[in-house]
Symmetry: C2
Subunit: 230 residues, 2 copies
């Protein structure tokens, strides 16, 4: 796989593609978890490149964090200013649109906080965003007015024991997406918590635990989603 780092509007991105394929292709943004761009996001981008897409690992912090506390502060600042988060999400989409790498069809995946980012991207209503997949994402709505009609197919890959997205919040997401006329799927997985894609998550009691089986199920549904919408 070919990785090319990109700077855009003060952010640090990486475009990952399979050089064995020629021509433009669908482009998929990858939004990072609280921990910023790391192995989970890079491996995800490689999976997407293997599926034939151009994957762009985006940045919503603008700089490498100095440690876990710095991560939390930067994430919390964006959670408190969803309009600024929106601007940063759209900056990544705009980079991809202008890259010349994609064929004009776009999508996104994201992990944890990045799962919130992809739901916000769907809520914006961009017609070229065909599908988004949220891996153990957060479901709380932004304050800005969301699209009356969400054109993207939405897939939420959700551990039923995730303490950061309760059953009630899952219900609310379904109702929100129904109201926006979205094509949506929620894959609820029993006995699965938050951060299930992250091999470093080893806190079962705290509801954050890596789960290889859940990760493969989530990826199978994601591959199915993108093969259908692209």
């Amino acid at each position: 796989m070919q990785h090319v780092d990109q700077t855009y509007e003060g952010f640090q991105g990486t475009i990952v593609t399979d050089p064995a394929r020629s021509g433009t292709r669908p482009g998929v943004l990858v939004f990072h978890s609280i921990a910023w761009r790391g192995p989970v996001e890079m491996e995800a981008a490689e999976r997407l490149a293997n599926l034939g897409y151009a994957a762009f690992v985006a940045d919503t912090y603008g700089r490498a964090p100095e440690g876990p506390e710095d991560c939390r502060e930067m994430m919390n600042a964006l959670n408190a200013d969803r309009s600024e988060l929106r601007r940063r999400i759209e900056a990544a989409l705009d980079w991809m649109r202008g890259s010349g790498v994609t064929n004009g069809a776009h999508g996104a995946i994201g992990f944890c906080f990045g799962g919130k980012c992809v739901l916000d991207l769907a809520r914006m209503g961009h017609a070229d965003v065909r599908g988004v997949a949220s891996f153990h994402g957060l479901f709380d709505r932004p304050g800005w007015p969301t699209a009356q009609k969400i054109p993207a197919s939405v897939l939420a890959l959700h551990g039923w024991d995730d303490p950061l997205a309760t059953p009630e919040q899952t219900f609310a997401l379904a109702a929100e997406l129904d109201a926006a006329g979205a094509d949506w799927q929620i894959l609820a997985m029993g006995g699965v918590g938050h951060a299930f894609t992250n091999p470093r998550a080893q806190d079962k009691a705290g509801g954050k635990q890596y789960d290889a089986r859940a990760t493969e199920r989530a990826w199978a549904a994601t591959a199915q989603l993108f093969s259908a919408v692209f």
Copy 2:
């Protein structure tokens, strides 16, 4: 595909296999909807045979129904006597166990009323039943004591607008499966109703509507389930 009709304990089954494959293989029971064994069940068995399994289209009525009213009466009688339904489900499992066709690993899928049958099969706790997939099934529990530990991986493929399985009943299923320590997944699909696998279902207002996209998503998850548990 090779279809061989079988009579077992007064019921009418059909075993479907790919004759291009040799030897024993995992066996998957197919339980019918209210309308008895029909094109949906036979096509499903062919899909399973294509995936490399031996599919056994089971019978819980014991005779061909004479029409829709007869179907409803036979189904209602079994819904009112879940112990008799259990006996009929186990008769199909026992036929498969003794068939010599399978390798001892079993699973099941079912549609509508048949979705209830496969959940009941999981609730029995048989160790050789590795996975079950319920397509627009019903979630109400039987009266008999269910297994304290459900060893089967359970997948419920569920239209969120299904009037026969409400969000509250979906919650209850999740809680029941959690209590039984089951590995479970519920794939909830927005804008999808009951009977989504059946091309003859054309009653959107009544909540029963064919949906080709939902059908493909459901099958992708089912194929992923069986490839993991067999």
